[in-house]
Amino acid sequence: MSKSKQLGKLFGAQIKMMFREKQVWFWNLFFPIILMVLFMIIFGGGGSKEFKADIAVVKPSANATADMLEDHLRQVPVFKWKSDQPVSQEQADTWIKDKDVEAVIVLPATEDATAVKLIVNKENEKSATTQAISGILDQFIQQTNFSVAGVQPTFKLNMDSISNGNDDLSYVDFLMTGMIALSIAQGGLFGMVEMVEMRRKGLLRRLRLTPVKMGLYGVAGMLVRFVLAFVQICILSAIGIFGFGAHLHVDIPTLVIAFFVGALAFNALGYLFSSFSKTLEAYMGVANIASFLMMFLSGIFFPTNGFPDWLQPVSKVLPLTYFVNGMRDGMVYGNGIGTGEFWMGIGILGAWGAVAFLVAAMIYRNGKVEVR
């Protein structure tokens, strides 16, 4: 039988085996989908919902200043009043402690007093919501000041976010491409568990008894994983685009290069794990550690520039950082192939793959336990 025909048979057999394995369905398809949907709902604002904050207002006594401020506060659309009317200080404290409201605004007690107090739960002191409330309140007070003083503000801040690619890049796009890169990487990191299983069952030795070339078997396995990765890209993109309004600006050459180099590199890493793991448990342990470390340190869910300074170099070493950047270049930034940064990343990714593969091949060749 010719080489290509044999490769076809091996590919056919392996693709059947892959799709008959329930674990593959769960970990490579359902799990990334669930994870992506959860993150998008929690951090992506669940589509286009606006920011709202539950508040309570305390008015220690009725006075002209407090009444005026109360009237104005009612007109701020993002504040949702827990109770229509101002409540007592005790009631407000209870709500804050129980987190029934996110903030309590205490109006001035006398007509002459000018301070407005904002109370939040200590746990939420640094949360985004608190920051937003205090920002809004700050602006609100300033405007009130201006109007009391009868001044028209000269400068106004108009905020607009831009990215280096296109105007409509959103967190949803960022997260979706991150999840796609993560699931392809995991496909490689975990996919080679098959080698450990085949070794345990004696299948590797069984194949060595036949004239089949193990290299050919490996190539067929790689092709199968490319198919799986392609399916992952399609499904996750579809959910991102249709479910959460993600936008793609695809640059095919960039995407193809990043995809192939990345998929090969992570398969090589999985191959390396399989070379020194004697049991399934050992392999899964190593693959899990690698996957979890990279998941959070490589900017899958959040940009890495928010990390503390000492952590930044770590993310600059990890292969997933470069893979996810490459995939974003190809899928949402619509550039890459022309930039030095892209090729630098691909180079580092390729180096990871090459080193992992060579070390693994060496361990496989030298290790005698391997065959059992």
Binding site: K9, A13, E21, L209, P211, V371
Partner: protein, 337 residues
């Protein structure tokens, strides 16, 4: 040639007789020749100088207890493990030079019976068939291993016996001239075991050469043309099952139990040891076992002695011999399955 004879002679004349080397001056090649194979794992000598040759068309059985070195020997011959010493030639080819050609000639059912669990019976056979240039037809193999009705079943859901038959099917999918079966019936129920025997006998009819390991004496006796008994990495003896039993039949076990207790047994043993027909004796309390090359002669003498002494013999028996006894006689060990 001289070297071979020397090496073979280490393991008893029967080896030489069968290989037929000493009778012919010219080079004579068996289908498979293993010479003075050695393999150690750390300090353990798993195989310690095993030599045998297998002729085309025969069923050659290697039998021995667990850890005797059967599987290691087989794996060296199959090319899975390089021997520390010795040589292997299969149809004049060696693993160093002609690995690919040998792989086309042999079919192996390893002990683990490894196959693709997520594929069906038919898919497994077809996949393995794709590895070879001229495979047998899948249908024919399915028929032979009697799995035609289960062709669409996944390996996962097969019974132990069905699984083992498929493993043998995978070994013969390439239509090999030599088939290795490593403990094909271990752990199977009697019916499933008999099914496997049928397949082995069918293979023999087809003119295939089969090399089989087992720890069941009954199996070796039923299936093999020649039996090679190994223990502790060495060949204990090698011959046809009939000849092995025949050789031992000359030495039959005679058992006597005395009513008068130990003293009578002891005295009789002393007397028996003086008889020229008695090879050895073993006494346990008041019962005495002895091995005689002429049991009738021995018994005649013994009864003369006991009558004279006035000992009352409670029980007398002469045992039939089986391969199991051959093993015990040659290794001095109890047989354990």
């Amino acid at each position: 040639m001289r070297k071979t004879v020397e090496a073979l002679s280490l393991f008893g004349y029967n080896v030489i007789v069968k290989s037929g080397l000493e009778n012919k001056g010219e080079e004579f090649m068996s289908l498979l020749e293993a010479r003075n194979l050695k393999k150690s794992f750390g300090t353990v000598k798993a195989v310690d100088g095993i030599s045998f040759s297998v002729e085309a068309g025969e069923v050659f059985t290697i039998i021995g207890p667990n850890g005797a070195g059967k599987t290691t020997t087989l794996e060296m011959v199959e090319g899975l493990q390089p021997p520390d010493g010795g040589s292997i030639s299969i149809a004049g080819l060696t693993w160093d030079k002609d690995a690919f050609a040998i792989k086309l000639m042999i079919g192996v059912q390893p002990q683990s019976g490894a196959m693709f669990d997520l594929l069906t019976v038919k898919e497994n056979l077809e996949l393995f068939a794709s590895f070879y240039p001229k495979p047998k037809s899948t249908e024919e193999v399915l028929e032979m291993i009697n799995l035609s009705d289960h062709r669409s079943k996944r390996v996962k859901s097969l019974s132990g016996g069905q699984r083992q038959r498929l493993a043998i099917g995978l070994a013969m999918i390439s239509d090999p001239s030599i088939i290795f079966l490593d403990e094909p019936t271990t752990g199977l129920d009697p019916q499933a075991r008999r099914n496997i025997w049928d397949i082995v006998l069918k293979l023999k009819e087809l003119g295939k050469t089969t090399i089989l390991t087992t720890h069941y004496m009954e199996e070796a006796e039923k299936l093999s043309d020649r039996v090679c008994i190994v223990d502790q990495g060495r060949i204990v003896t090698l011959d046809t099952p009939a000849a092995l039993i025949e050789r031992l039949t000359k030495e039959r076990e005679v058992r006597l139990t005395f009513q008068d207790g130990e003293e009578a047994a002891k005295e009789t043993e002393r007397m028996a040891m003086g008889e020229s027909t008695v090879v050895r004796t073993l006494r346990e309390g008041s019962s005495l076992k002895l091995w005689s090359v002429q049991p009738e002669e021995t018994l005649y003498g013994l009864f003369g002695f006991t009558k004279e002494q006035g000992y009352r013999v409670e029980q007398v028996s002469i045992r039939e011999m089986s391969l199991e006894d051959v093993f015990i006689a040659f290794t001095g060990k109890e047989w354990r399955d």
